[in-house]
Amino acid sequence: MRYDSPLAAVGNTPLVRLPRLSPSADVRIWAKLEDRNPTGSVKDRPALHMIEQAEKDGRLTPGCTILEPTSGNTGISLAMAAKLKGYRMVCVMPENTSQERRELLAMWGAEIIPSPAAGGSNTAVRVAKELSAEHPDWVMLYQYGNPDNAGAHYATTGPEILADLPSVTHFVAGLGTTGTLMGVGRFLREHKPDVKIVAAEPRYDDLVYGLRNLDEGFVPELYDASVLTTRFSVGSADAVTRTRELLQQEGIFAGVSTGAALHAAIGVGRKALTAGESADIVFVVADGGWKYLSTGVYTAATTEEAIETLQGQLWA
């Protein structure tokens, strides 16, 4: 495969079957390896698409400043694209996200404005909206409400999955901005009306919940419940357990939110097995484990210890 520039190499990621983690020969689980994108996460797709659409609309012009609330990956993708395209990049990020993420953003020249840990991403969104009002000349692409976020997946991720696996029955992804689920979900359903679209939502322990409770409710503007078939709520312990199984049994080194998506994929797989149905279940490996190495979840001697190390931390 040959491309004319690094940005042109976004997408066209491998889809690999997981022979050991699939529940049976007829209920197969497939991993869409989005960590193979240029900056190492699925967010390269919406970041590049949102920038290019804003350029087409004339909202983004040379010398502009881009502002975005992000817990990491979208900021990293935007920072890389902004650097190559000559924009200034400002990220609003919760102060309790990992050191690796902050260094990656700084490495690509992004400026970071920390938001209070309490309320997590919700607070980052609020702070970014306030900054946007103070700096009307800054361009906030706003991944939570920008149709081009879902549009990127409708235009690329969905068609890639259908082309590689026409027999797909389930699509599973993490629920954050909801862009992946909305975009892929709409595309697949147009071509396969019976396809099941499954969300894996992170569930934190009581400590982090307490923090998040301080904030007001926030539902991304992109979210349309009618696209989803069902929703799984995945706790930290299951997310860590699956992340380690993916590494140990299939050799895939993925971030912790991917473990949550895998847990939901195995959940729907078991239901299919019980019902005597065959299934081809695709789930998204949103990023690699590199940015989460400092959490210690990969190197802990036992899964119990790994779960303990993640207590109270945001992982999606």
Binding site: N122, E201, N213, V219, F232, S233
Partner: protein, 92 residues
Amino acid sequence: MAIEVRIPTILRQYTDGKKAVEGSGDTLADLFTDLETRHTGIQARIVEKGQLRRFINVYLNDEDVRFVEGIDTKLTDGDTVTILPAVAGGMA
């Protein structure tokens, strides 16, 4: 038929502080009736007029039962039911 039920902090006043209890029933509605026999008061905090309360989420093996059959969702031996308060802003 044993179902493990995970209890959120705000409802542990009914379970002597226990994080998880066992119950039985063919459906979620039956399970909550069964729990009430040992944990008086808990049912009314979860169920209202025969339906799940609006600000309570219930998960069967981590799947949101509102996307299955709600309070009529069928249970099987060995299932895990998780009860959680609906958290504002739990989606981003």
